[in-house]
Symmetry: C2
Subunit: 416 residues, 2 copies
C-alpha cells in the first residue's frame, strides 16, 4: 500500500520564514513589490528550489513562473499557485502561502514516492497585487485573455517604469508566450483575508466562488454657505444629505447576509470648518456572490439615494465606474477540495471569496477552485498578518489531497 | 430749520466701484489681502479722501487708520468703520461698505451743514479677514486689549513675512499706540453675509449681538478591514458611526431656531474605496446667541455622540478647540439704529450676527452696535457677493442717522 502523503509542516514553515526575510520591513511584514530586486531574489530561490525537486521552470512573457513536474500520462498539468509579490505594507503569507504550499505538496509526493497521472505545476503569477502596476492580477489576466500582452507590458509604475522595462531590468522576461501553457485544473490556497473562519471556528474554507463587485462614485451637491449666518432651515447641506445616504446604503447590505456595502472614501469641498459644504463625493463598493442579487442591490442603491438627499434639496449623481461579475468555481474542483478537507478531519465550511485572486481569471480557462485558511483577526495587507505553522500545513495538506483527488477523478481531460 | 441730511447714493456707489478696481479679480471680485500693494493703494485713497473732507488721519502701530472729523464739544469721537482688506476670493462689499459708508455719512453732514456734538471718526481696521495673517480681527483685537501688540506684530503670512514687516514694506506703521484713541461709541455697517433679511423681505437688520461659537474636533476610530471579506455584522465601521453622529448633530440644531450646527470637514483614513475605514475625523461648529443655551447645546453634543457610534462599537473622542462667547451690543446703540431705520421707513428686524466682525472686539471698549444690509442670495467671500446701490445707500443712511441719534442721546460721555 502506498503511504498517505503528508506535508512536511516544518519544511513549509522554514520556506515561509525564509521568504519573510526577503523584502522584510522593520514592522515585521514584507515590502516585496513585483519585479523589484527583492522580488528577483525570491523568484530565483523559487526556480532553484523547484528545479532541485525535479521541476522544469518556464517563464512566460509576463514573467510568470511555471514549475512543471512530470506525470505518468501525457496530460496537461494540474496547477497549484498564487503569487510571491506583496503590497508595500504587506504581510508574510498573502500569496506566498499558495506558492510555497505547492512546492510543499511536490515535496510530500516525492517523499511518499507517489506519481500522479497528470503532470503538476506550481505557478508564481507576476503582479497579482497591483500595488506597483495597476490593475491587479495582471499576468493571470493576460494568461486568461482578459488583457492583451501589449496592454500589460505598457503599464507603468509611479516612477514611469513600464512592466516591460521592469521585466528586462530584473531578467524576468520569459520566452514562453503568456497563455501558452494549458492547464487541466488550477487550485489556489490563500489566507482568507477576512474574519469569518476564525470567528466561526473553522479550519478550512472551501471556496465556491468570488463575489461580484460594483463600484460607484456618488456626488452630492448642495449650496455652500456661512456656518454662522445661514439658519438651519435655509441650508442645502450635502454633508447632512450624504450622512443619511451612507446610513441607507449600510442598511441595504445588512438586510442580506451575502451582501457587502462599503463607503471607504469621503471628500468634502471646500472642507472648511465654518462653511456649510458645497459638495460631498463618496465611493460605494457593493458586493454579492450572486449576479442577480448584485443587480438587485445596485437597483436598491439607485432607489435609496434620492429620498434622504431630498431633505436637504441636494443634487445627487451616481456613476458606476467598475464592475466585476461573480465567479462560480468548478463543481468538481470544489468537491475535490471538500473531500480532501473531510478526509483530513478539518472543520470546514463553504465560503465565497470577498477579494480578487488569480483564480478569478484562471477560472475562465480551466476548472478552478480555492482553499482558504483562517488568518489571525482577519488581518491582511498589514505586518500583523499571521497564520500558525499548523494552519499553513493543514491548508497545504488540503491543497495536496484536492489535487490528488482531482487527478484520479478527472475524466474530462484531453491529451496535452 | 436744518435740512435732513441724506446719503449721496451716487457718490457712495462711485466710491464702492472705485474700490472694486483695486485688487479686482477676473471673476469680478476682489483679492486685496491686508498690507499688499493693492491694500496700500486703497489706504492712500482713503486717507486722501478723508483729508479732503476736513478729516485728520492718524494711523496706529497696527496700521489701522482713524480719520477724525471735529465736533462741537470736546468729547471722544463717535466712530463708524469696518475694513478695506478682503479674502483672496472676496467680494466687493464685505467690510468696504462699512468704511465707505462712513465717508458718505461725513459727506452728507457737510452737504447739510450739520455739526455734531461729538467728533466723528471713520476707521479702517487692519487685517480683519485673517486671510493673510491669522487670527482674524487682529488690529481691532489689539485695540480692545484682546491681543498684545507684540503678539499681533509677530504673526506671519504663508511666505513667512511678519505683520510688522508687511506694515514697514507698505509704509503703514503708524505713530499712534494701538488702543490710544478712545471712542464714545462704534457703529459698523456690514452686509449680512447670510440669507435671512433677503428671504424674509427686510431692508435692514438691527444687529443686537453676535453668536457665541464653540469648535470641536471629533475622532471616531473603528477597525480597518477588507470591504469584500468582512461581513457587515463583524465590522467596526467609523464611516457608518460618523454618519449617524452627523445626523444627530444636525437634529440638535434644528430643534432651536437660534442654534447652528455645522460639520464642514470630514477626513477618512485610509480613504480607500475597498477598505472599511480605520478612522473618521470631523469638525463641529456650534453657535448660539445665548451663552447658557450654547452651553446646553455643547452638553447635548457630548451626550448625542456615544450612542449612535456604539452601534459600530467605535471609540469616540471629542475635543473642544475654540470658544468665543456671545456678544450683546449696547442697548442705547441698538435703539439708535432701530430708531434710524424706523424714521427712514426701512423694513427692519432685530438679528444676531452669525459671523465675527471688528465690532465684536470694539464692544469691549465702548458702546457698540451694527447694521446689516441684505446681500444677494446671502453670498459672501465670493465674486458674486452683491448689494444694489439702493441697499448701500439705505444702509449708509441708517448708519448716519444712528450716529446722529446717538450724538444727541448720549449723556454718558466724559470729556475727551
Amino acid at each position: 500500500m502506498t503511504p498517505t502523503p503528508r506535508i512536511d509542516a516544518g519544511a513549509l514553515w522554514r520556506d515561509l520564514m525564509h521568504s519573510a526575510t526577503i523584502g522584510a520591513t522593520p514592522e515585521g511584514g514584507l515590502n516585496r513589490q513585483t519585479l523589484t530586486p527583492d522580488d528577483a531574489v525570491i523568484r530565483a530561490w523559487f526556480a532553484e528550489t523547484a528545479t532541485s525537486m525535479g521541476g522544469v521552470v518556464q517563464t512566460d512573457s509576463l514573467g510568470s513562473q511555471f514549475a512543471i513536474f512530470p506525470g505518468a500520462e501525457p496530460l496537461p498539468p494540474i496547477a497549484m499557485g498564487s503569487h510571491l509579490d506583496t503590497q508595500p505594507t504587506g504581510g508574510r503569507f498573502d500569496g506566498v502561502l499558495g506558492v510555497l504550499a505547492g512546492l510543499a505538496a511536490i515535496r510530500a509526493l516525492r517523499a511518499a514516492g507517489i506519481a500522479t497521472r497528470h503532470p503538476l505545476a506550481v505557478i508564481n503569477w507576476t503582479n497579482e497585487e497591483g500595488a506597483r502596476f495597476a490593475p491587479a492580477m495582471l499576468a493571470s489576466g493576460v494568461h486568461a485573455g482578459v488583457f492583451t500582452p501589449a496592454y500589460a507590458l505598457a503599464r507603468t509604475d509611479a516612477a514611469g517604469t513600464s512592466l516591460a522595462e521592469a521585466l528586462a531590468q530584473t531578467g524576468q522576461t520569459g520566452a514562453m508566450a503568456a497563455g501558452a501553457q494549458s492547464l487541466a485544473a488550477y487550485f489556489e490556497l490563500h489566507i482568507e483575508q477576512g474574519p469569518i473562519l476564525e470567528q466561526e471556528g473553522f479550519d478550512i474554507g472551501v471556496v465556491t466562488g468570488v463575489q461580484g463587485i460594483a463600484w460607484f462614485d456618488v456626488s452630492v451637491t448642495g449650496s455652500p454657505s456661512h456656518a454662522g449666518t445661514t439658519p438651519m432651515h435655509l441650508r442645502r447641506d450635502p454633508v447632512v444629505a450624504a450622512a443619511a445616504m451612507i446610513q441607507a446604503i449600510h442598511a441595504l447590505a445588512t438586510a442580506d447576509a451575502g451582501a457587502r456595502a462599503t463607503v471607504g472614501r469621503i471628500a468634502v469641498e471646500p472642507g472648511s470648518r465654518n462653511t456649510v459644504a458645497a459638495t460631498v463625493r463618496f465611493t460605494v463598493d457593493l458586493r454579492h456572490p450572486d449576479a442577480q442579487q448584485l443587480a438587485a442591490l445596485e437597483s436598491a442603491l439607485q432607489d435609496a439615494l434620492p429620498p434622504p438627499a431630498g431633505a436637504q434639496d441636494c443634487a445627487v449623481t451616481i456613476e458606476k465606474i467598475w464592475h466585476s461579475a461573480p465567479v462560480t468555481f468548478d463543481a468538481a474542483c470544489v468537491q475535490a477540495v471538500e473531500h480532501a478537507a473531510t478526509s483530513l478531519g478539518a472543520r470546514h465550511r463553504r465560503i465565497v471569496s470577498g477579494a480578487g485572486h488569480d483564480a478569478v481569471y484562471l477560472a475562465r480557462t480551466c476548472p478552478t477552485a480555492m482553499i482558504f485558511t483562517p488568518c489571525l483577526g482577519g488581518i491582511s495587507h498589514h505586518p500583523a498578518e499571521f497564520i500558525t505553522p499548523e494552519q499553513a500545513a493543514l491548508g497545504a495538506n488540503v491543497l495536496l489531497h484536492a489535487v490528488l483527488g482531482y487527478d484520479v477523478l478527472d475524466t474530462r481531460v484531453t491529451k496535452a
